[in-house]
Amino acid sequence: MDNLGNIGTTEEQIELMDVATNFCRDKSPVEKVRALIDDDLGYDPEIWREVGELGWLAIAIPEAHGGVGLSMAEVVPIAEQMGRNLMSTPFGMTTLAAQALLAGGTEAQQAAWLPKISEGMAATLALREDHGDWDLAHVDCAGTHSGDSIALAGKKQLVLWADSAELIIASVMIDDRLRFALIERSALPEGALRREEIIDETARSYELNLDGVSVPDSALLDADRGREIIEKVELAAGLIHAAEMTGGAQAVIDYTLEYLKTRKQFDKIIGSYQALKHPTVNNYVEYEKARTHLYSAAFSWGEQGRGEVAVRMAAAQAHDSYSQAADRSIQFHGGFGFTHDCDAQLHRRKAIMSGALIGDAPYQRSKLAGLLFD
């Protein structure tokens, strides 16, 4: 089993961890998170501007395109701290869009978009459809040639932050091949985006109706790299969500501990009851395993074979441990846990959302099994 990776860190990663820890904690107190739930945009544009200024969107973009020239490994501590502080922005989706451009964009496409992203422009991916499959190659939306352009048709679902994104990269079938179309949001017809009700109230998601949308031939990513793009995007998404969920698991465990250390029932601090204490230890153990896998996945990013195993392990462990820790947090908060005011539900909902986006733990394990045993 030589596709099991190791663990390690880079200096830049640890520096970014320090900066992100402070930034996300300071800029995203929970009162602000809750205020943004009722906000249309769903995030603070000022903070988004700062994220751009900090260069965080440029981390995994080569210097030639105005980026920092590091890798996804250095994106991990930022996504982790964002998840920990429930700081929702188009950061993850924009990073993924850049990865798609890097994997399959022509020189011209990369030159057109990557510098803008590096400077703070939001972008997103439109990959999901009504069939509900996690397999990114299962695409029913289609494009047909019409002169020098392609007429698109069908609906994409769960297009996160689409109203903020200037660029939307959508998967479509053209001539029986999986292709990716670069769509400028400004060119979308009126009503092409419908805001969706999603389980994670801190995020924003849209259904994208492609009927009536056309793109020029030159706005398609490389026809020969469809498989590469999918693989890159799937792994990068797994890594980013694993990071967010791991940070979230840490937060919800700390939130639970805080309650267990202060709440009294039957004249005793409830954290002294083993009925609450021992399951919390078990959840903590699972969280630490998730974090270990997360930094192993960051370290193994880009290593052929090992990268995918490490990312899927991180994603599976993060999804299970975040879900379980948040579920127990609701329960252990008693009556208060059942209210919207208790933060445990924010985390529980976010864990469901992440699983929906990248594939839940059983899905990750089914993929892993093939990599490990066959």
Partner: protein, 404 residues
């Protein structure tokens, strides 16, 4: 009270009930119907269910075996059982007035004065008078015996100060069964408590709605500020509040007073989830063809079938000799935890669509599963958390020593 029923009469009644519910049951009024009385959130839900209960009562299918002189049907319990069966058969909406009919009613029938029976019973049956329950307080969720809401006797009144929480229908209720402290010097915390049939629509009582983790509203916090109630509201005598409260819990578990009938909480229909799994496709194949899902689903079927059969086994003394309190005491724990697990499990069927929630047209079954999962905590927390239930089973069924 009625004799053993005449078989022909019972049959006729059963058939009539069947026909009635077949004809009158509305399953889709155009908005989501609450699965439990704790989930009533909007006015339209409340109005619909109140009207529904009145209709069922007036047709003779609720309280059919309660005494005729107070508004009941005066029939043998087998009649009410037949009516309830018919409700279940046609998946009828829940009965709304759970605390009135399930808790306060039996208590009043059992121990109340003639006047109290005349005053309260009929109004709770026809849902004219909605009842709520005031046991829990913000600082004492699990430790009910530690309730601190103060009831001070002044002349022929009690003056109430304090707060109650997690009160389902608290903002709609006319009455509350209230656990309050009348004696702060009592030799132990339990003996200081008294029990009241408390009017809600009076000065000094206000409620504030609590938003649930589902995003809906379903219960309130109630504030008492120098609220004055008649001393006649005291029930069971000063200092007997704890034993009155415990009695209501016994009625809930089904005790000597004949059950009012119907149901206040819809059971999860296992076939629904099997259908979901069968109809969910993953990579072109039904999810239920996935062996890992099948294995888990099978285990849930084993669990559900056991709990359903337990309800029958509980009534078979020949299979209940060893640890006779085991099955009755474990029921709430096992059932509520199973529903939580099962509804959580159902999210995994939905692939990317697990991202949707109630209100989105792309949501599977209108978000029913997500809402059911989040709501499932009301049952694993409310009415004694699962952790408390495990203590109860350990101490009262298995004879293990107390933890505290």
């Amino acid at each position: 009270m009625a004799d053993k029923p005449d078989a022909a009469e019972l049959k006729e009644y059963s058939e009539a009930a069947d026909a009635w519910f077949k004809e009158n049951t509305v399953r889709d009024p155009g908005f989501m119907l609450p699965l439990t009385f704790m989930e009533v959130s909007t006015d339209e839900q409340f109005d619909f269910l109140r009207e529904w209960q009145r209709k069922v009562y007036e047709a003779g299918y609720l309280g059919a075996s309660w005494p005729k002189e107070y508004g009941g049907g005066g029939l043998h319990t087998d009649f009410q059982r037949a009516a309830t069966r018919a409700m279940k058969k046609y998946d009828a909406p829940i009965m709304l007035n759970a605390i009135g009919n399930g808790w306060a009613g039996p208590l009043i029938l059992d121990l109340g004065s003639e006047e109290q029976k005349q005053t309260y019973i009929k109004g709770m049956l026809n849902a004219e008078d909605i009842w709520c329950q005031g046991f829990s307080e913000p600082e004492h969720g699990s430790d009910l015996g530690n309730a601190q809401l103060k009831a001070v006797k002044e002349g022929d009144e009690y003056v109430l100060n304090g707060s109650k929480i997690w009160t389902s229908l608290g903002d709609r209720a006319k009455y509350m069964i209230l656990l309050a402290r009348t004696d702060f010097e009592a030799e132990n915390k339990y003996k200081g408590l008294s029990f009241f049939l408390n009017p809600m629509k009076i000065d000094g009582i206000s409620t504030s709605r609590i938003k649930k983790l589902t995003g809906e509203y379903g219960f309130v916090q109630t504030f008492f500020t120098d609220a004055r109630i008649s001393a006649d509201c005291l029930f069971g005598g000063e200092g007997n509040g704890w034993s009155m409260a415990m009695k209501t819990l016994e009625y809930e578990r089904g005790a000597k007073v004949k059950p009012v009938g119907g149901y206040f909480v819809k059971e999860l229909d296992v076939m629904q989830i099997v259908e979901l799994a069968k109809n969910s496709m993953r990579n072109g194949k039904p999810l239920l063809d996935d062996p890992v899902m099948r294995d888990k689903m099978t285990q849930y079927m084993i669990d559900i079938q056991a709990l359903n059969l337990n309800n029958t086994r509980r009534r078979m003394p020949q299979l209940m000799q060893d640890k006779p309190m085991g099955l009755p005491l474990m029921n709430k724990l096992a059932r509520t935890e199973l529903i939580r697990e099962l509804t959580e499990f159902s999210l995994g069927f939905q692939g990317t669509k697990a991202g949707y929630y109630v209100g989105d047209e792309n949501a599977v079954d209108d978000g029913y599963w997500h809402r059911s999962y989040l709501n499932s905590f009301s049952a694993t927390i409310g009415g004694g958390t699962s952790e408390i239930q495990r203590n109860i089973v350990a101490e009262h069924a298995l004879g293990l020593p107390k933890t505290r």
